[in-house]
């Protein structure tokens, strides 16, 4: 026989709690205990409320450009829940829910989008990296972070989040290739939300799934319903087990949808059909969990009302903390340039502080007298 099959594969899609609220009890057994499910539901609701408030803050001029997370809460949250607290979370910029669950105070995210760099001063013990603004670059950092853990003989792994568009960047290829060939325990968590700003997924990938991109690197690939918190948790748990025990990377494609605009600077009505958005609103990750909780008699209207009140209270407080923070020192942006500020940068800093020109130190001591020569 001149031809024989040397390789074939398939991608499996995992769904446990589907968009109609139907729960697969067999697959879903022991994935999330009831008490935790309530916590995760509350977390998603809080995050959604913050998202709505952030949008209003931007519209009323109290915050800069902001990327809404709406519709994608289950992806990063499921991952953060399934992973150990010491595993690295390496986000792009639509992972608020997972970051908050890990312990990032909400005002950090608000500060970041309010143009305040203190929002990036993430406590080291949270094991998360700051939001990555360029697309796809953080996947290499995740690979390095996980590599360091492997080097030190620790059981820590890394999970990096990115979108469908990021798989088009060269850095994705390089990260996947490094991780696979050097046996790095990193999870590549692709949140396929179908849109890279206005560009549809088919411009990023012509294959039937994004998940299969990982196959070419020789890593295990999984696809799950990204709006199904159970499916996300189980998928990440399985991936983490592979990463931790075999020191191998895993590629996850979580199928989700960006219900909002790309950012507040975008208007998605220009390029996508409302019918598509409406369809995905039915698949909202929060709605189906609430329905399940109600079905299990774990939730009712009074609990919902109490949660709404809590969300209002907590987010109002977070916004107040972000808005009431003392303004940054004027020269703050000099302070972290190097471990030690060199003399030229010190001169430039003093120049700025005194509105002088900095060529002549005497100007700095006495800026008012500087023009007499």
């Amino acid at each position: 026989m001149p031809f024989k099959t040397v390789f074939s594969t398939e991608i499996q899609h995992l769904s446990i709690l589907n968009e109609h609220g139907k729960f697969d009890a067999k697959l879903g057994k022991d994935v999330i205990p009831d008490q935790d499910l309530i916590t995760l539901y509350e977390q998603m609701t809080l995050c959604r409320h913050l998202d709505e408030i952030a949008f209003k803050l931007q519209r009323s001029g109290r915050m800069g450009t902001y990327p809404q997370n709406m519709g994608q809460e289950a992806t990063s949250l499921g991952a953060a829940y399934a992973l150990e607290k010491t595993d690295w979370l390496v986000p792009c910029y639509r992972e608020n829910c997972g970051l908050f669950y890990r312990g990032l105070p909400m005002e950090y995210i608000l500060l970041h989008w309010m143009g305040d760099e203190r929002g990036n001063a993430i406590p080291r013990e949270l094991y998360m990296t700051p939001l990555a603004i360029p697309i796809g670059t953080q996947m290499l950092h995740a690979t390095g972070l996980a590599w360091a853990a492997k080097y030190r003989g620790e059981k820590q792994i890394a999970c990096t989040f990115f979108g469908d568009g990021a798989t088009s960047e060269g850095d994705f290829h390089e990260a996947a290739n490094f991780a696979a060939n050097l046996d790095i325990p990193v999870i590549f968590f692709c949140q396929n939300n179908f849109w890279a700003i206005s560009v549809p997924g088919k411009i990023q990938c012509s294959a039937p799934t994004l998940a299969q991109r990982g196959i070419a690197y020789g890593m295990e690939c999984m696809q799950c319903d990204g709006n199904d918190i159970f499916a996300v948790v189980k998928t990440v748990r399985d991936a983490a087990a592979i990463a931790r025990t075999k020191s191998r990377p895993v590629f996850i494609e979580a199928v989700t949808y960006r219900l909002g605009d790309h950012t507040t600077a975008d208007d998605a009505r220009r390029y996508r059909d409302q019918a598509e958005v409406d369809m995905w609103k039915q698949r909202d990750p929060i709605l189906r969990v609430r329905a399940l909780l109600k079905e299990k008699k774990l939730w009712n209207d009074s609990k919902e009302a109490a949660l709404k009140e809590r969300a209002e209270r907590e987010i109002t407080a977070a916004v107040a903390r972000a808005e009431n923070i003392t303004p940054p020192e004027r020269a703050d942006f000099f302070n972290y340039m190097f471990a030690e500020l060199n003399s030229d940068l010190r001169m430039q800093r003093d120049t700025m502080l005194t509105h002088s020109l900095g060529e002549d130190p005497s100007q700095i001591e006495s800026p008012a007298a500087a023009s007499s020569h």
Partner: protein
């Protein structure tokens, strides 16, 4: 004549060049039906179709690398990189290939390519959306670097860039995309790459600037009440040293203003050339008013970073009184 913003003037230049020459195609992230994130390519997808206004995969190296191939095959691609801070992945293609192709093939291949990039701060944008990288590319032999400061200049310079036989970095100061309007002829016209514009004439002092800073310089000059000559470089490389020389020899004093960091900013090159050509005419040291050698701060502090009218006025006063 139409009263246009800088965005509209660029859009008009693109329309006219695309109508005139079917070798001109546009590619980039969101440039298609969405018309680009700043709406510079608004309406072009509808007008010229998906084959000529191409939404590309999200990959800056890919956008520029394929544009090089398109250009080598004789087309005139006008790729857009969405923001200054996203030039990073494309750097290798721009500097290792676009800039060098003519030289390394002894002219057998050329890269007539115009890369459009919104640049600069002052619009409350997120991180990596406010940088001023013109000196990096001016320092790369084989690239032309253009930065208009007005709608009229933008149209004429962009048409010249598209028709130029070599790669052009076309930096668009996003702070003045819609800051003001100007009469722009409907008819096509070109402005020469490498020629400065004397914005206003004066005898006491010369200011050299480019991009959005030109607007601040005009305000500072007005406030100073002095007779100041303002030269808008318009193209950073090649640059019009003859115009700078003539002006500085006349005034004897020079202030250079740019938003990019000070060290190795393009002001350093201008200052050095003034030393070479005008040393004996100088009444005062050349003074620079620039951004600082820091990471461009997030927007809460961006105005502390940027050279504002007050700092320019200070330089005018100091150098004028020297």
């Amino acid at each position: 004549m139409a009263n246009l913003t800088l965005v509209q003037a660029i859009n008009l230049a693109l329309v006219q060049e695309m109508e005139k020459d079917d070798r001109v195609i546009i590619l980039g992230e969101d440039v298609g039906p969405n018309g680009g994130v700043f709406r510079v390519t608004e309406g072009l997808h509808k007008r010229f179709g998906a084959a000529r206004v191409v939404d590309s995969p999200l990959a800056e190296s890919g956008i520029i690398g394929t544009s090089i191939g398109l250009a080598m095959a004789g087309l005139r691609p006008v790729p857009e990189i969405q923001f200054d801070g996203f030039l990073g992945p494309a750097y290798d293609q721009i500097c290792s290939h676009a800039a060098r192709m003519r030289t390394r093939t002894r002219g057998a291949f050329t890269v007539p390519l115009t890369i459009r990039i919104p640049v600069g701060g002052g619009i409350h944008a997120p991180e990596l959306h406010s940088d001023s990288p013109e000196a990096i590319y001016a320092h790369t032999p084989g690239l032309k670097v253009v930065m208009p400061s007005s709608p009229y200049d933008a149209k004429g310079l962009l048409i010249s860039a598209i028709r130029d036989p070599d790669p052009v970095m076309f930096f668009e100061p996003k702070r003045i995309y819609r800051a003001f309007r100007e009469e722009v002829p409907e008819d096509e016209y070109t402005l020469p790459i490498g020629k400065a514009r004397t914005v206003c004439e004066g005898d006491d002092l010369t200011i050299v600037s480019w991009g959005a800073s030109v607007v601040q310089c005009m305000q500072a000059i007005e406030k100073s009440g002095k007779s100041i000559e303002l030269i808008d470089l318009r193209t950073i490389y090649p640059f019009d040293m003859d115009a700078v020389e003539a002006s500085v020899k006349k005034t004897g004093r020079c202030v250079i203003v740019h938003e990019a960091p000070k060290t190795c900013g393009f002001g350093a090159e201008i200052a050095a050339r003034i030393m070479e050509r005008c040393f004996l005419y100088l009444e005062a040291p050349v003074q620079r008013v620039t951004g600082f050698d820091t990471i461009m701060p997030y927007y809460k502090l961006e105005l502390e970073y940027m050279p504002d009218t007050a700092r320019i006025e200070r330089a005018i006063a100091d150098i004028g009184a020297y």
